[in-house]
């Protein structure tokens, strides 16, 4: 098991009387740069602190024009982390490939980060959330085609000596020859997040990358998702390695169960009720019909529909409690899901700095060691032959 601290870097200061959209057209006047200066530096401190606490890695991600996540450029954050940490993996989950024109920018920046960090980059590639296609006015109908071409360009840039040509439908590059080249051979570990699209799973299985299950769904939905992914690996005629899957989930640890809920609940609801709405806007042409049918099956369980804390607990939408409770819950869930990477959201919504720290510390000191013992790295997590329901 590998343990990552995943940060969304949310904007925690939306006016209480603002009830408009939080994505795409959320008026940027609502962003106070004085707060921005504070939170960016605080959140970076939290990620850097993860190394001291013993986490295996830290994660940043990419979203534009919204209050849910203020990193339009995760690569800037990763570059800072490359200098201010020495050991942890730095996972960019991920660059929204179609938003980089040409895609060689991703190859270049990722290679720079890999060089500066001494080979610690985990390269995440995403199609980019639906809202990004509105924010950038880029055609969602071509999103997936562009994603696959961009992926091919990046891999070509990293693994084939330049100069080369790449003449595709969307990108035509006559002198593909990126400097620098990454440290890791044959290339950095590649992660692809997903929410259940079959094409994505099949692609990840075929390429032998790792599939990160994106929240915010009922645990049963994750279970089904990872089973489908394992099946996809089987169809590619190999046995999946637990390191090829990761589960992203909010986690909150306090001294007692009661304290944990009391300290965390309001910040969780700020996240669910004020930051989430709009995240799964799906522009026309963005999702294939085949995948849409699949995704719609899980849509009722999306966290936006949560009405009570009981539902949060029942669906494992957040893993909250004392160190003992959290360890037990995570052990059971990880066993069920078979994921060899746990990506914890230790800061969420308006959760303040002090509570974020104690959360991280309690987790690192009292939960992580137990889980490391239970799931030693390199050992298979599931009995072979697990099939999708």
């Amino acid at each position: 098991m590998r343990f990552f601290n995943f940060h969304l870097m949310p904007y925690p200061s939306l006016p209480s009387d603002y009830d408009g959209p939080v994505w795409i057209t959320c008026p940027n006047e609502l962003f106070d740069p004085a707060i921005g200066q504070q939170i960016y530096n605080r959140y970076l401190d939290e990620l850097i602190y993860s190394e001291e606490l013993g986490f295996d890695g830290v994660c940043v991600n990419e979203h534009h024009q919204n209050a849910y996540g203020t990193m339009p450029s995760p690569n800037l954050m990763a570059a800072i982390l490359a200098r201010q940490t020495k050991r942890v993996k730095i996972a960019i989950v991920g660059n929204a490939l179609p938003l980089y024109n040409p895609p060689t920018r991703v190859a270049e920046e990722f290679a720079m980060i890999d060089n500066i960090s001494g080979g610690r980059l985990i390269a995440g590639f995403v199609v980019g959330g639906g809202p990004e296609y509105y924010s950038f006015s880029i055609n969602p109908a071509h999103a997936r085609e562009k994603f696959y071409e961009a992926h091919d360009i990046i891999l070509k840039a990293w693994t084939e000596p330049g100069p080369q040509e790449y003449i595709g439908k969307h990108y035509k590059l006559r002198f593909l020859n990126t400097w620098p080249r990454p440290v890791q051979k044959p290339h950095p570990e590649i992660w692809i997040p997903g929410v259940g699209s079959l094409e994505t799973m099949e692609f990840v299985a075929r390429q032998r990358y790792a599939y990160m299950g994106i929240p915010y769904f009922h645990i049963d939905v994750f279970d089904r998702m990872f089973r489908m992914f394992r099946e996809a690996c089987e169809r590619e005629v190999y046995v999946y390695d637990a390191k090829q899957a990761g589960w992203l989930t909010p986690i909150y640890v306090a001294e007692t169960d009661e304290e944990a809920r009391r300290q965390y609940e309001e910040h969780f609801w700020y996240f669910v009720r004020r930051l989430l709405p709009g995240i799964n806007i799906s522009p026309p042409g963005y999702t294939s019909l085949r995948s849409m049918e699949n995704i719609l099956k899980g849509i009722g369980s999306f966290a936006i529909n949560l009405k009570s804390w009981d539902e949060v607990e029942a669906g494992h939408y957040a893993i909250v409690g004392s160190p003992k409770t959290v360890a037990e819950k995570l052990e059971a869930d990880l066993e069920r899901l078979g994921t060899g990477n746990l990506l914890g959201l230790f800061q969420l919504g308006t959760l303040p700095a002090d509570l974020t720290r104690t959360n991280m510390e309690l987790f690192a000191h009292e939960v992580m060691p137990q889980l490391r013992k239970r799931f030693p790295e390199g050992k298979p997590m599931l009995k072979s032959g697990e099939r999708a329901a």
């Binding site: 509105y134 055609n139 109908a141 522009p283 026309p284 042409g285 049918e293 719609l296 009722g300």
Partner: protein, 216 residues
């Protein structure tokens, strides 16, 4: 039906409105239509205009109904990709009691509740989803227009009428007016109590206008 709409396949071959125009031309050739009369609604009108400006001799008469395809600063076409069905219903239908308008309002209520949305049989959503995806393919950005089209409208040689639903709040009046002005000899006809989806709301009136024009 154009690829991507209704049951028609083949949308992957079509990447922009120019491809659509040539697809139409291929269709005419295949059906051995030398110069048919062509009527298009909204996106279809834009498509027809793209064909008419390239191959004017292949269209004998042209009817453009609530056409998109132009950019007019200060009179921009309203957004269709990010708005809810309930919001759209007002632009598409002059009379909200129309069954299809009612269905859109009902759809809105279901979408707001994620659990209800998941329970709608996908076959019911599929045509809408597909049509909107095909429309996005053709008109996401530049939004529902071709910046080059206006300068080419002078090439249209067929007798032409432009028909507008007077209550169409999706496409401002300036668009139909521009088409009528730029196409030689074109006439602008307004239909009362009709919004953007005039062919659904006022089929009899539209048919009468078309018939009249085609039998002149």
């Amino acid at each position: 039906m154009s690829p991507g709409f209704g049951e028609s396949e083949g949308i992957e071959q079509i990447n922009d409105m120019e491809d659509s125009a040539f697809h139409l031309l291929d269709l005419f050739d295949r059906l051995e239509l030398a110069a048919p009369a062509v009527m298009g609604l909204s996106l279809g009108a834009w498509m027809a205009a793209e064909l008419a400006t390239r191959y004017p001799d292949r269209i004998s008469r042209l009817i453009l109904v609530n056409p998109v395809g132009l950019y007019i600063k200060g009179a921009e076409i309203k957004d269709i990709f990010g708005r809810s069905p309930a919001d759209m219903a007002g632009d598409l239908f002059a009379d909200q009691s129309h069954p299809m308008a009612q269905m859109m309002l009902q759809m809105d209520r279901m979408i707001a509740d994620g659990r209800a949305l998941g329970s709608i049989p996908f076959e019911l959503l599929r045509p809408q989803v597909q049509a909107l995806a095909a429309t996005a393919r053709l008109g996401w950005n530049p939004y529902l227009h071709n910046p080059k089209l206006r300068n080419r409208l002078g090439r249209v040689s067929s007798p032409t009428i432009v028909v507008r639903g007077a209550q169409d709040t999706l496409v401002p009046a300036a668009h139909s007016q521009s088409y009528a002005e730029e196409i030689r000899g074109a006439k602008l006809i307004e239909v009362q109590n009709a919004a953007h989806l005039i062919s659904v709301e006022r089929p009899a009136e539209l048919a009468a206008i078309a018939n009249d024009f085609l039998t002149q």
